[in-house]
Symmetry: C2
């Protein structure tokens, strides 16, 4: 949702961006800060993957400086985040909605779901982080639980109610803005 060109505001230097333009980036920012703290404290090593770019032309105005002058965004084939926590392979996608009662599943791209399914089948701890930003609530949904629901009910969205029962709320724990590793730690202990 966040990575694709979508809004020009994200890339241009001078923009009269309103508050709404930043909202979409807030969860990503929170996750990036959290990951950075996890790495600094040697708790987990998890990164956001770079956006895939198709480079067409590059200029070399000076010997050591390459300037890309023509390039295009490519469709990613994976999720945005992966890494390692206590030897476990962690893989997840992060999504935000301004909706107050449900998360529309159209926001989850099929390549993201396919990838999550495949890494889960290969032993990953795979999940979604979903934020309802008007209510400032964030849930972690294990792919296992998501797939069971999708396969049995083919829903078009995940209701807040469903998330409260089947997801796991993620909290801000100073100084970690989106402390999803605490949730994972609890789930590992419960052998989920």
């Amino acid at each position: 949702m966040i990575k694709y060109p979508g809004s020009k505001k994200q890339y241009t230097k001078n923009t009269n961006s309103k508050d709404t333009s930043k909202r979409g980036m807030k969860l990503e920012e929170d996750i990036n800060i959290s990951n950075s703290i996890y790495r600094d404290r040697d708790i987990a090593v998890i990164y956001k993957k770079p956006t895939p770019i198709q480079i067409v032309d590059v200029d070399y105005p000076s010997r050591n400086k390459a300037k890309i002058t023509e390039a295009y965004f490519k469709q990613a084939s994976t999720t945005d985040y992966n890494g390692v926590y206590k030897g476990y392979y962690i893989d997840f996608e992060a999504k935000e909605t301004k909706n107050k009662t449900l998360f529309p599943l159209t926001l989850l791209h099929s390549h993201q779901l396919d990838h999550l399914r495949q890494v889960y089948n290969n032993g990953a701890i795979a999940f979604l982080l979903i934020r309802f930003y008007t209510m400032d609530k964030t849930f972690l949904v294990l792919v296992k639980d998501l797939l069971e629901y999708l396969d049995n009910y083919s829903p078009k969205s995940l209701s807040l109610k469903w998330l409260e029962s089947n997801g796991h709320e993620v909290f801000y724990r100073y100084p970690i803005p989106c402390d999803y590793i605490s949730v994972i730690e609890t789930l590992i202990k419960e052998n989920v």
Copy 2:
């Protein structure tokens, strides 16, 4: 080694590239094909990460087509490859040398070694793939073994002899050009 601008040939459409320009890409190609087969057969889910790019300016000639008109290569903070095999977090860097008797450690950037050390400390199966391309020999070196050697002897290179004793040769196993997962499977069974 491979991802940075280095040679213009890599990006321009029409180039009179000589054989040497492709050599540097051969190990990467072999790994990408191997990973693609691993994914198709649901053996492992391992990807090469996109090259990180700093985007400065984007044009929108048409509604759904974003054209990046100014961007620069950024220094990566991780290795090139990671993913999951049987629940294990896999992380590695791939390097080639035309040298026939040793692999110069200057080819391994400090951020790559730091990252490999950190993921190893967090439970990853972390390693280097080193190819001597004039002899068509490829070795897998576990970061554990590499760090022990570096910490005790501060070598400037890894000799072919050292790699033959402390590394694990990786073979082409039809149709997998660089079947490093077989090596990992053996190492897991031996509880290394």
